[in-house]
């Protein structure tokens, strides 16, 4: 049964996925747990054929080689003892990638072409494209893909795609001495399985069943179970489906997120067109900036006020740069629409490597910011208005809140929201960074939290940049030179102006 490898589906691809020229029969492994003796010949054959390094194992009180699959151990017999109606059962099942018809790994994979499903049903990792992010393992309902520290890639059973392509059976099948493993077109394997189940039922094993779960539209591994109503005894999920989180992340968050980010950018542009820059009559930008280096914050230097000292600026720009770095590396991973961004960093795999470091640096900068600025961010009574009327007035009625200190309520809200989101990004980022150390549901939840948090953050940042640049002339300088004009201060932050200059906003005569 020699085959050409036509690709049916490919991970993270934007356009047509099929490269198919002709139909191929879907192949499958047949595993009959009722005739498996757990001899582990398949384990050794898998190790040998795939040239996997020997793992150092220790005796922990079980016949099972390892607690679960490993990046260097793709085929593991699971041994399970169960007492059924007073009789001991010793159940053995060969565990490996199930090669789902609807592969959660492929759905979850962010790297274009890193996981492919061939026309014959084999789901394979392409190491050249894999970025080792581990999202495939989050997408897998069978907990199969593992990150290989040795290769930096995800690894799992390939269904011996190299052998199958040239008409051979997978190595595990070849090695099986009892014939409990078979290989062939899936239709034949299912027929074999159904016949065996029928035989077992006739033999008194009334609970026998063929495991070929519908939830993932069937798998290319069909398993005969003596206790069909208890797949958990074989460490198989009862009703496996592609985790809901993958669907939400991919089908809800992603389009909404793209829309929100692009929408925010569009909205600011439209806002600018409609309302233009908000500038005091005297102008927000000083004609001749003064040198403020070394000057203390909230002091008057010449005709200008020092708004941000050197440390503030360092903190802000560190946060800004690391945020943008994390954002761009993240966006490239997030969707192939922004995949081109990966080129800025040297490829998607570099993005995957860099992103958590940039993210961590960002959170560290945020932490410094919180410590340094929190004193200025004390909420006042008037700030609550920024949840409603004051914000509308600010954006659409050109009105200024007379009760604004160094930071207005909106800025404070942004500050606290940013701090919270940074915390969420860190907390959810860690399980995504080290997927091997966390449970799958936690990783799934983290994925959604990370996506939601970054989308909100990205939207907020678009607004932040808009307000910090085009919308309010003079504001940008407060973060570059560190100074603002008195008129800018008086206009936008009247109370702060009074505090710094000792004058009431109305008294100003500098102009």
């Amino acid at each position: 049964m020699s085959q050409q490898l036509e690709i049916k589906r490919s991970s993270a691809s934007l356009r047509g996925e099929r490269t198919i020229l002709r139909e191929m029969p879907v192949v499958a492994k047949y595993i009959d747990t009722t005739t498996c003796i757990g001899c582990k010949a398949c384990e050794v054959a898998c190790q040998e054929w795939n040239d996997l390094p020997t793992i150092k194992t220790t005796q922990i009180g079980s016949y099972q080689t390892l607690p679960s699959l490993d990046a260097n151990f793709w085929n593991l017999i699971k041994f399970h003892e169960e007492e059924v109606a007073g009789n001991v059962q010793w159940l053995m099942r060969k565990d490996q990638c199930m090669h789902c018809a609807d592969p959660g790994c492929l759905a979850a994979c962010p790297a274009p072409g890193a996981i492919v499903q061939y026309e014959n049903g084999i789901v394979d990792v392409n190491p050249d494209a894999c970025i080792g992010c581990g999202l495939c393992s989050t997408g897998c309902p069978f907990d199969v893909p593992r990150f290989s520290a040795r290769t930096g890639k995800m690894s799992k059973c390939t269904l011996c795609v190299d052998r199958v392509t040239v008409g051979l059976e997978p190595a595990c099948i070849k090695a099986c001495p009892t014939g409990c493993l078979q290989f062939g077109p899936k239709s034949e394997m299912v027929a074999l399985g159904n016949a065996r189940v029928k035989q077992l039922k006739a033999n008194g094993m009334t609970d026998a069943a063929l495991y070929d779960p519908e939830g993932v539209r069937g798998t290319s591994v069909v398993t005969v179970l003596a206790h069909g109503s208890h797949p958990e005894w074989y460490e198989l999920p009862k009703n496996p489906t592609v985790p809901m989180g993958v669907g939400i992340a991919k089908s809800v968050f992603k389009p909404l997120g793209i829309a929100a980010i692009l929408g925010a950018a569009g909205a600011t542009f439209l806002h600018f067109l409609r309302y233009g820059a908000k500038e005091p009559a005297e102008g927000g930008v000083a004609a001749k900036p003064v040198k403020s280096a070394g000057a203390k914050e909230d002091t008057v230097v010449g005709d200008q006020i020092v708004r941000h000292g050197t440390l503030s600026k360092i903190i802000h720009w560190t946060a800004a740069v690391t945020f943008l770095g994390a954002l761009f590396t993240g966006l490239a991973i997030w969707t192939p629409i922004f995949g081109w961004m990966a080129a800025l960093f040297g490829g998607l795999a570099v993005c995957r490597w860099l992103h958590p470091f940039l993210g961590s640096a960002f959170v560290a900068a945020m932490l410094a910011m919180v410590v340094y600025w929190v004193g200025d961010m004390k909420l006042t009574k008037g700030d609550s208005g920024w949840f409603g009327r004051k914000a509308i007035d600010y954006f659409f009625n050109r009105a200024e809140d007379p009760d604004v200190g160094k930071y207005n309520g909106g800025q404070k809200l942004f500050f606290f929201a940013a701090a919270l989101l940074a915390l969420l990004l860190l907390a959810s980022g860690i399980p995504l960074w080290f997927p091997g150390e966390f449970t799958r549901p936690l990783r799934e939840a983290s994925w959604l939290v990370h996506d939601a948090a970054f989308i909100l953050f990205a939207v907020a940042i678009v607004g932040h940049i808009y307000l910090g640049t085009a919308a309010l002339p003079g504001t940008f300088r407060s973060m570059t030179r560190g100074t603002v004009t008195k008129s800018w201060a008086r206009h936008h932050h009247p109370r702060w102006y009074s505090e710094v200059t000792g004058k009431s906003p109305g008294d100003d005569t500098t102009k």
Partner: protein, 833 residues
């Protein structure tokens, strides 16, 4: 194998691996084939899938075999005879035996003489002082004049074998079985029902076993009980039937066939004893007498013994063996009778520094050559093994690893060996090629000789066995030639005419084993007809002669390398009968016969019991089907089906063993209870034991837990632990002790923690594997715990892969027929380490 020979005539698996697919019921007991014979186990699966055969696993543990069986019955180690005789009783009691078969193919109708008795656990003829039986009271009753056996075809005579057996097994009620074995009565009865469902012409069952039966002080009698059961059910000789012994190594059958035991020469010819100084005396002492004038006439095939013996002598001494010198018989070594030269006895001699010979006491052995064997690892009571080797002057170890034997002198302190500086033994380690590094044959359990080709060169200085032997032979010959010596003739005259004497070609050796004509062989009936010209390979042992015109190294293997070529290399999967016989794959001794005793697959008229599974059948002129285990043109009724036995029929009652004509349940030498049947004779009265200070046995009060030992699929004996970081060490990483959950709770032992197991002979420590698979049994009214652990580890081996030797704990008590130690049932104590 002694048991099967004493029951059927030949000591080997009666059927074959592939034949298991033809069965309806498999009783897997005394072995864990899924674990130890995973490749052959495919035929079990085949039978289950294609025929709906039932697989019944009876074992002290819930094993890998039990995991895929239709039913599992727990049994206490060392209680198998009670279990099997319980089934025999059930078969007789419920009339579920194959009566027609029993009447014509077994000795059921034979009448036993009236001196035979069985009282309080002891058969007649027991000599208490010698712990052994004289067998004369066990003889059949025979007509004084004609010497013909007396038989009662109606099976009603109260001294006929059938009635004696019925009486003997009557005590083994299901209740008694439960009391002795711990098998719940209902479970046992279900096993009985399944197994005895084959006691008829339509159905066939097989029994498979391995070392779980042989390694007991009653090992041979356990197998006897199984053989009796199969004869009663009419399952011997039939496709899908038999008593199938699975050998523990790939070539152990070949080794046994070729003088692997001290009591045998190649082909199970007997080792001459000191009382047999001439060939005539040897024949007189060894060949069973044919008794004619009885209804069950026999071929008594052993009447051909002289042909095989003379041909062997011609192969051994070549032209130096002549009619005038009694075919050089005098040069063969003679063993001192009645002493035993089984290897444990040699070690006992070493340890004691004393050897008992016919002429009196002599100093113990001073040197020892161990070839592909690791006695310190595989012998019982490891401390004694280590101590024994310390007494030698020199030892040669031919091995592919530095085994425990090779480094006995640096055994860890718990082995209580002497300080290395005090040990004077000079050890020579000769690196040898492994099986994959040399050509040759494997003879599997099914008696198939299969040629294998060398896969790779041996590493470093390692040499193939034949080269090591060749060099040794040439050097010893040269030494004798130069120095003379006390008795140089057998050495100097040893035939060694290989084209490369230093490293004989194994194809040539196989040709020599097959045998050839030394002169033109003419047909006896028609002297003008030439059967074989001088120098030609014979077709089989039927062409061998006792007049020196043929030579043959092993008559049993004759036919393996004929003029047609090396038949062990045949690889045809043609199977015209569809029964998995594959007559053109390799070569199966004897005479390429795939199922032994196949005459018994047919009824008195020569019609198969089951036409869909015909072994052989009589077509009016000749027997057709498998190679008949019979004279091909002898009509049915002329001879009995078991041609190697003088009775010609299978023995329900066998007067040929050392511990009784019927099996009887005896407790292991160390057991948790006294024998409920006869507490005064609790263990086998004839079992062999040593008496040195190291051969100690524990009391059940001190060592209350039953213990057994076994092997694992993932490892090969004491080899695999020598491979640093190998795949097998990866998938089964170290020694463990299997402990039932209840016992673990009682002792506060958690899975994966370290525990210590002690017997009267020593202690070992390992990882606890707490499991549901070790059943808790109620024995003789009390709860008895049992634990077990695998062999495979020892103090030698690659870093990280060493471990305790299981045999540190095992006793050296042995079966009195085979001298196999009781590795499978002994008493221990368990504690947290």
């Amino acid at each position: 194998m002694a048991s099967l020979a004493a029951t059927f005539g030949r000591g080997a698996m009666t059927n074959g691996w592939c034949d298991i697919k033809n069965t309806d019921v498999i009783l897997a007991m005394g072995g864990n084939p899924a674990e130890n014979h995973p490749v052959g186990f495919k035929w079990f699966i085949e039978a289950r899938k294609t025929r709906g055969a039932k697989l019944v696993a009876v074992d002290p543990r819930f094993t890998r075999t039990a995991a895929v069986a239709d039913m599992y019955a727990p049994v206490r180690p060392g209680s198998d005879i009670a279990f099997l005789l319980g089934i025999v009783r059930y078969a007789i009691d419920k009339k579920r035996y194959h009566e027609d078969y029993v009447k014509i193919h077994t000795n059921a109708p034979f009448v036993v003489n009236d001196k035979f008795a069985f009282n309080e656990g002891v058969f007649s003829g027991f000599d208490e002082a010698k712990h052994s039986y004289a067998r004369d009271t066990w003889a059949y009753e025979a007509d004084e004049g004609t010497k013909a056996y007396k038989v009662d075809p109606t099976l009603q005579n109260e001294r006929c074998v059938f009635q004696l057996l019925k009486k003997h097994v009557d005590r083994y009620t299901p209740e008694m079985v439960e009391r002795i074995c711990g098998t719940p009565k209902d479970t046992f009865l279900k096993v009985c029902e399944i197994v005895t469902s084959t006691g008829n012409a339509e159905r066939v069952g097989t029994i498979t076993y391995a070392l779980g039966w042989t390694q007991h002080s009653t090992g041979v009698q356990i197998i006897r009980a199984a053989a009796i059961l199969q004869l009663l059910l009419g399952n011997v000789g039939r496709p899908g039937g038999g008593v199938n012994a699975f050998r523990g190594h790939s070539n152990i059958q070949g080794a046994t066939d070729t003088a692997g035991n001290t009591e045998w020469l190649p082909g199970y010819l007997k080792t001459p004893t000191d009382s047999q100084q001439t060939l005539a005396q040897h024949y007189d002492g060894g060949i069973p007498k044919t008794l004619n004038g009885q209804p069950w006439a026999t071929m008594n095939y052993w009447v051909n013994y002289p042909k095989f013996m003379v041909s062997l002598l011609k192969a051994t001494y070549g032209n130096a063996a002549t009619k005038d010198n009694d075919w050089a018989y005098a040069w063969l070594p003679k063993v001192d009778s009645p002493r035993n030269f089984s290897w444990l006895y040699i070690f006992d001699d070493m340890y004691r520094g004393e050897t008992t010979r016919a002429g009196g006491k002599e100093p113990g052995p001073e040197g020892f050559i161990t070839f592909g064997m690791n006695p310190v690892g595989l012998g019982p009571n490891s401390k004694k093994m280590v101590a024994a080797l310390s007494k030698l002057k020199w030892m040669v170890v031919v091995e592919n690893h530095e085994t425990e034997t090779a480094q006995f002198w640096k055994a860890p302190k718990e082995y209580e060996g002497a300080e290395p500086s005090k040990i004077q033994t000079e050890v020579f380690l000769l690196p040898a090629a492994s099986f994959a590094e040399k050509d040759g044959t494997f003879t599997n359990s099914a008696r198939w000789l299969q040629w294998k080709w060398k896969a790779t060169d041996p590493p470093g200085l390692a040499k193939a066995d034949q080269e090591i032997v060749g060099r040794l032979v040439l050097a010893v010959k040269a030494l004798y030639k130069k120095e003379g010596g006390t008795f140089p003739d057998p050495i100097l005259n040893l035939a060694w005419s290989y084209s490369n004497p230093q490293s004989p070609d194994l194809g040539e050796a196989l040709k020599e084993m097959n045998g050839k004509a030394l002169a033109d062989l003419k047909d006896d009936k028609d002297p003008t007809k030439l059967i074989k010209a001088a120098g030609q390979q014979v077709d089989g042992f039927a062409q061998l002669r006792d007049d020196g015109t043929t030579m043959c190294g092993n008559w049993l293997h004759s036919g393996v390398y004929t003029e047609a070529g090396n038949n062990a290399q045949r690889r045809s999967t043609a199977d015209p009968l569809g029964l998995g016989m594959f007559h053109t794959w390799g070569f199966s001794w004897p005479a390429n016969r795939r199922i032994m005793y196949n005459r018994a697959s047919a009824d008195a008229e020569g019609n198969p019991w089951d036409p869909t599974r015909a072994g052989i059948k009589w077509n009016g002129e000749r027997w057709v089907g498998d190679v008949p285990d019979f004279k091909v043109d002898s009509p049915p009724g002329q001879f009995g089906a078991f041609i190697m036995l003088p009775e010609g029929v299978g023995r329900l009652y066998s007067p040929a063993l050392n511990d009784g004509p019927f099996p009887e349940h005896y407790e292991a030498v160390e057991a948790p209870i006294d024998n409920p049947l006869h507490p005064k004779v609790s263990s086998n009265p004839a079992s062999a034991r040593f008496s040195t200070d190291k051969d100690v046995y524990g009391k059940k009060e001190d060592f209350p837990i039953v213990c057994t030992t076994y092997r694992l699929t993932e490892h090969f004996h004491y080899w695999t632990q020598h491979q640093q970081g190998g795949r097998l060490n990866e998938i089964q990483p170290g020694f463990f002790i299997e402990i039932p959950e209840g016992l673990a709770r009682e002792k506060g032992i958690v899975n994966g923690s370290q525990v210590k197991v002690s017997s009267a002979r020593g202690s070992i420590q390992g990882v606890a594997m707490v499991t549901k698979r070790m059943p808790t049994l109620k024995i003789d009214g009390k709860q008895v715990w049992q634990i077990g652990f695998p062999i495979h580890w020892g103090f030698a081996g690659a870093k990280n892969h060493t471990g305790p030797l299981a045999n540190m704990l095992t006793p050296s008590a042995q079966d009195p027929n085979t001298w196999t130690p009781e590795f499978k049932a002994f008493q221990v104590r368990l504690e947290k380490a």
